[in-house]
Amino acid sequence: MQFYRKNSRAVNKALSILSGLVLWHFLATVIVADTAFLVSPLAVLAKGYEMLFVTGELYPHIFASSGIFLYGYLLSIVVGVPLGFLMAFSPAVRDYAHPWMTTLYTTPRIAFAPVLLLWLGIGAGSKVAIVFLGCVFPILINSYYGMRVVNREFVELARSLRLGRLAVFWKILLPASVPFILAGLRLALGRGLTGVAIAEWFGATAGLGYLVYFAGQTLNVPVLFVGVTVFGLMGILGFEILRKIEVLATPWRSSHSG
């Protein structure tokens, strides 16, 4: 009892996960009892083990998806951050870009997938473009906000120290907007993974999105669950990496939560 009182939070969470998995197992094996519909978590685990260590068929899918994701994500950073800065410095650029950004940002991205496919073909180009379209706006918008809300006092201090324009940018504006850019990168991570999944629905022959899509079409539920799980793990891994980067990039911030 003492142990429970001390660690009630961790115990409750562990109990929740455990009972959920047990419930899932019984639901799958006793009540549903149809492997074309739902399989036990044990079966998913077994399938995952098989695909990873026996046949190794999971690796090409992971590599294909990671490649597309990384290209799209990095491209978004390279384009989004400078464009966001430009919009922060020039109201004219911001005003002209505004209607198009709103349109592109609020439209369900999947709508652009067939158009991009039409323009760029079924190769890697269209897939990277779909990921890019998902990632670029959170990064762009956060870079813009980051640059806009930099504390005026810092800038005034820099001016009174007679720092040049370039020095103000490098020493004050850029570091101050880093937390915002990182927040944008976090948002973009989830959207990018969704983008990968969407992109690989269209004319792909490899990748986790393709795996999930194909498993769905052939009613292969264990593989479907393995694909979904790997997507989840990739997301968690990405968030952890970003958190590490955040600690390294903004050492002056004392607390790092979430």
Binding site: S8, S16, W100
Partner: protein
């Protein structure tokens, strides 16, 4: 007229004109890049024939069913989660799991479970919206100013009165934020589900247009989806500003 609005209009008109010229004079390829005038013509044709109306109504209905059910179940659930720590601890691992996996990957599974009809799309919308609502409602209930609760205690408000007069109004802006996030993601989800397997809806139209190489129709669908996104986003943003004018709402 405000300067930024004028610039926005100039920008939109300029791009449309350049696009029209580009498509008519240089590209002359309706498949790759139909001119805006061609898209408008196709839009008119699809509207008159009632085809657009049918698909638009299907998507809207699926969206409305899923969204309203998620509100009815998700807001009380999020409220309870914010009030009771043990419930939060029990639900958190599963909510977090659902939240961290890209929604799109669930769509094939949901179609296996609920069929290719309307129900599976309603479930997709429901699933996406309820996660956002639960998380945001719980956050709203938890971050309430303790001073307000003290005031309600000294006024001897009953539990129900505290709930209706203090806690729920305090959580309302958070709930609307959850709705805004839910709308955007649910729209994506419903289109994806329709695209994968259905016989009606804008997602179906998207697939139909791209498989029959009917580019003007494809662009009409994209345009309509853009419109849907902008309108829903603007409406909820307005609601957010009205409910919580002290909070800075996102420009995008």
């Amino acid at each position: 007229m405000r300067k930024d609005v004028a610039r926005g209009i100039v920008s939109v008109v300029a791009v449309l004109v350049v696009w029209e010229i580009l498509a008519r004079v240089f590209l002359e390829n309706d498949l790759l890049m139909p001119a805006p005038s061609g898209v408008a013509r196709s839009f008119w044709k699809l509207t008159v024939s009632g085809e657009l109306n049918r698909h638009f109504a299907a998507t809207l209905l699926e969206f409305a069913y899923g969204f309203s059910t998620a509100c009815v179940i998700g807001i009380p659930l999020g409220y309870l989660m914010g009030m009771h720590k043990w419930l939060e601890e029990w639900m958190d691992p599963w909510i977090a799991t659902l939240y961290s996996i890209p929604i799109i990957t669930f769509v094939p599974l949901i179609i296996i479970w609920f069929g290719i009809g309307m129900l599976s799309k309603v479930v997709v919308v429901f699933k996406i919206t309820i996660v956002e609502l639960i998380l945001n409602t719980a956050a709203g209930v938890k971050t309430i100013d303790p001073l307000w609760l003290e005031v309600s205690q000294s006024l001897r408000l009953t539990r129900w009165q505290t709930t209706y007069k203090i806690r729920l109004p305090a959580a309302l802006p958070f709930i609307v934020t959850g709705m805004r996030l839910g709308v955007g993601r649910a729209l994506l989800g419903v289109i994806a589900a329709e695209l994968l397997a259905s016989n009606a809806g804008l997602g179906y139209l998207l697939r139909d247009a791209s498989e029959t190489w009917d580019s003007p129709k494809l662009f009409v669908t994209v345009l309509l989806l853009a419109l849907m996104g902008i309108v829903s986003f603007t409406l909820i943003k307005k609601g957010e500003q009205k409910l919580a004018p002290w909070r800075q709402t996102a420009e995008w």
